[in-house]
Structures are given as C-alpha cells and as structure tokens.
C-alpha cells in the first residue's frame, strides 16, 4: 500500500523532500516502516533515534498504519 511520508529537520535532509510517497506492505506497523526507512535510507541508522507520528501523535512500534495515511518522521527534537 502507499503512504505519505512527511519529514522535518534532518529527516527532510535525508529524504531530500518535505513530503514523499512511500510504498509499504499492507497492514505495516510503525515498527515496519521504521525498519524499511533504515534499509532504504541508511542515514537513519546514524541518528540518535527517530519516532513516527500519525494523526499528530507519537505512535508506538505496534501501531498499524492505514492505506494513504500521513506518517510524519520525527528525528531527535531540539526546541527551546
């Protein structure tokens, strides 16, 4: 199925796009997408960590993503 990746901070630099269509297996979880991102873009392996957000909230690795959903890549935050 297709999802829409949205990337901020260094994740945008790695993807070289703010938004990018991305193909993942049906019923892919947040954990699956994180693994696929690390395989497709090895630079993600070098980050201190990164999370994925769906519907404007952090989601744990077992969260199941739906077709067409917007998945936001959250690299280590540094506000303040």
């Amino acid at each position: 199925m297709n999802i829409k990746l949205v990337a901020f901070g260094i994740a945008k630099d790695i993807l070289q796009h703010r938004e990018l269509p991305f193909t993942v297996q049906s019923d892919a979880t947040v954990g699956d997408v994180k693994e696929l991102l690390k395989t497709t873009y090895p630079k993600f392996k070098k980050l201190a960590k990164f999370s994925l957000a769906v519907e404007e909230s952090y989601q744990s690795d077992d969260f199941v993503i739906s077709e067409g959903q917007e998945v936001v890549i959250i690299p280590p935050v540094a506000g303040g």
Binding site: V6, F8, G9, I10, D13, K46, L47, A48, A53, E56, S57, Y58, V72, I74, P75, P76, V77, A78, G79, G80
Partner: protein, 142 residues
C-alpha cells in the same frame, strides 16, 4: 491554543515576555516564574552565526498544550503560557518563553522547569545551528 488558563503560541516573529507576563498574572498567584531561552553565541567553543527553528506545528501545539495541562493538573498552578519562535534567529534572539503562575514560588519554579525540560524532550521542534564553518541539526546524532 487558548483557554482561560493556557496560552500556547508558535510565532514567526519576535517573542515578547510582557505578553506572557500579562497572561499569567493572577490575583491568586503570588509567584510568577518566567523562563526565557535565548540564542547563545557559543556552543561547545564553536561560534554560532544564527539558528533556524522548524516546527511540525499542529503536533507541536498539541504537545505544548499537553505540558501546560499537565502543569495545571499536577501543580497548584493558576496559568501557564508557552510561546515558541520558529524561523531564523540571530544571537541573543528569544527562542522560547515559558511562564507559570502559582500561589507559592517553589511550585512556580518547579512547574516552569518541568515545562522547559519536557518541551525539549517531546515537542516536535528542530534547531539547526549555523556556524562560520558549517551547520548541524542539534541533537540529531549521538
């Protein structure tokens, strides 16, 4: 996000501590603590030219509101304001202002410190430091 006790803002223009102070001032609060985070000239001996802040705004507002709500629920706080800047900041520019008012000062210090500590952990805002000889996304790498 705004209700009677919470004022959350992400701004592309200058932050202003007097508007934070005005919002959180309250007849029942004797202690007000403001934290103002500014752009330092040096980070680990390297000279910073400017900073760029980027936010995932709807979620950042949500996470900042969570922090403020947690303070109202867990501290004897009357009002909480969190204003965060985005865009390009020069040295000395204000990146964040947090204000908390409580009946007693100790609670106001604790709550304000909780707010900035948690903001730095959970709120989806990113900071790029631009040096004379390069740039880096802060905290991205171990």
């Amino acid at each position: 996000m705004n209700n009677q006790s919470i004022d959350i803002q992400i701004k592309k223009t200058y932050l202003d501590s007097s508007s934070v102070e005005q919002f959180i001032t309250n007849d029942e609060a004797g202690g007000i603590v403001l934290f103002i985070g500014t752009v330092r000239k040096f980070t680990q001996q390297k000279e910073v030219v400017r900073l760029e802040f980027e936010a995932y705004e709807p979620m950042a507002i949500k996470e900042m509101t969570k922090i403020a709500q947690h303070i109202l629920d867990h501290f004897p706080a009357k009002k909480v304001a969190i204003h965060h800047r985005v865009g390009v900041l020069a040295i000395g520019g204000i990146a964040v202002i947090i204000g908390v008012s409580c009946p007693h000062r100790k609670d106001a210090f604790d709550a304000c410190q909780y707010a900035i500590d948690t903001l730095k952990e959970t709120v989806p805002i990113w900071k790029k430091e631009i040096f004379t000889d390069g740039e880096v996304w802060v905290a991205a790498h171990p």
